[in-house]
Symmetry: C2
Subunit: 233 residues, 2 copies
DNA sequence: AAGTGGTCTAGACCACGCC
DNA sequence: GCGTGGTCTAGACCACTTC
């Protein structure tokens, strides 16, 4: 039994991955402990730990103290979505970016958002509607509610040069949030904005962010017909 | 100048995060090197490295050798999507899962998939259509092309007990893939499957996976009306 | 109680990429 | 060239979890 002498954590990860893929270790199996693997590979335990931590992040193995490391039975597909600010998404496609502020008013929270956006009595909310264009074609329609108590500067910002989207990314840090993706049927207003027929299927996303326990903003983005959101596995 | 004496990497990450959020370090600023921070916090450089690596993964700072670490100007929103096998997505909602294999035949690749799915001449492809149900209501309609040369056992699997989706997750490892999400308008066939009207907006996803340079499978999943895909930020 | 992964240290060498 | 982050080591202690 010769030692494998892999000493970089990526090499070790590939070797472990190979054993999983080749069924040397079956789904559900307990694999050797870090100390044993370190001895086998002739490296420090830290290095094995790094490799296993990486495999655990992608869901291929599950790790628990004392219980050890097991090969996952149904490894989930994991994908990381990177949602850039809209300006960058447009310019990354080689298109020209501009935006128009269509609405900007202090408004009460619509009842259907009560669950996602829990506010103290008397909180003031700013509602904004923005259309983002790529090469002068409508690209994303953005409807946003922003908590003025949590983001004071928002009320006096102009949004001519910098959109509400960009302003918040640069000025309002968040500690958490959730996001949801779905399909909607264009109503008459949205259809007119996108120069399409009512009933067209549109891709949409909603995002709520908060800082600590304080809600920051809730936004719904409706994408132009035919939009596809891509990611790598 | 007293040392901060934070010695766990999560504590250090929170302290650094705080300085970024409070604008002690402005967007675009170069922050001190790992060695300096280690001295300030009274810990090993490795520990600071771990904290900074974590911040870099979420996109809040960008790191380059020799150039140092900078606070990101437009920190992107990053979200990790975990796409479980369909059975688990259904049972996690507390619903009963079942599936029906509707079509299963060897078929040529439709021309519109030629780009995503580059095959050697003469490769045999299996086409399958499966409806997945949650509590006996149609949940996901799955159309799949699978490379029989890359996944030999697929041809003889029954898919009565285990769906094609689940079978592939358990039996066909992949080294890479891409995924795309979009909205579609239900055609007459799909509308009938989901007991809705033609033209209904539906959420859909396509996934292509491969192992090394060999394509494994291409699948399109069309979700029941009203489906929302959720994730945390 | 004991075994496993999680983390920290102090030191070292290396690779990348600005200058 | 040389400064910075990236990684590796050998050892230690700790935290969690199962037994």
């Amino acid at each position: 039994m010769t030692a494998k002498e892999a000493n970089s954590w990526t090499q070790i990860r590939e070797e472990l991955l190979d054993r999983i893929n080749k069924r040397v270790w079956q789904p559900g199996d307990l694999i050797p402990g870090e100390a044993d693997l370190a001895e086998e590979f002739g490296c420090a335990r830290t290095t094995v730990n790094r490799a296993l931590r990486d495999l655990a992040e992608t869901g291929l193995v599950t790790r628990r103290r004392k219980a050890g490391t097991r090969v996952a039975v149904n490894p989930p597909h994991k994908a990381t979505l990177t949602i850039p600010i809209i300006r960058e998404e447009v310019t990354a496609r080689g298109a020209h970016y501009r935006h128009t502020l269509m609405t900007r008013e202090v408004r009460d929270l619509p009842p259907h958002l009560g669950g996602a956006f829990q506010l103290v009595q008397g909180t003031r909310l700013m509602f904004t509607e923005t259309m983002h264009y790529a090469d002068d074609r409508p690209f994303i329609f953005e409807e946003r509610y922003t908590n003025l108590d949590a983001v004071p500067g928002f009320e006096s910002a102009s949004f001519e040069d910098v959109s509400a989207n960009e302003w918040l990314v640069q000025n309002a840090p968040y500690s958490g949030g959730d996001m949801v993706f779905f399909a909607v049927s264009a109503d008459e207003t949205i259809a007119r904005y996108f120069e399409t027929g009512p009933g067209t299927a549109l891709f949409a996303a909603e995002r709520t962010t908060w800082y600590g326990s304080s809600p920051i903003t809730h936004v719904r983005m409706t994408y132009a017909p035919g939009y596809r959101m891509r990611t790598q596995l």
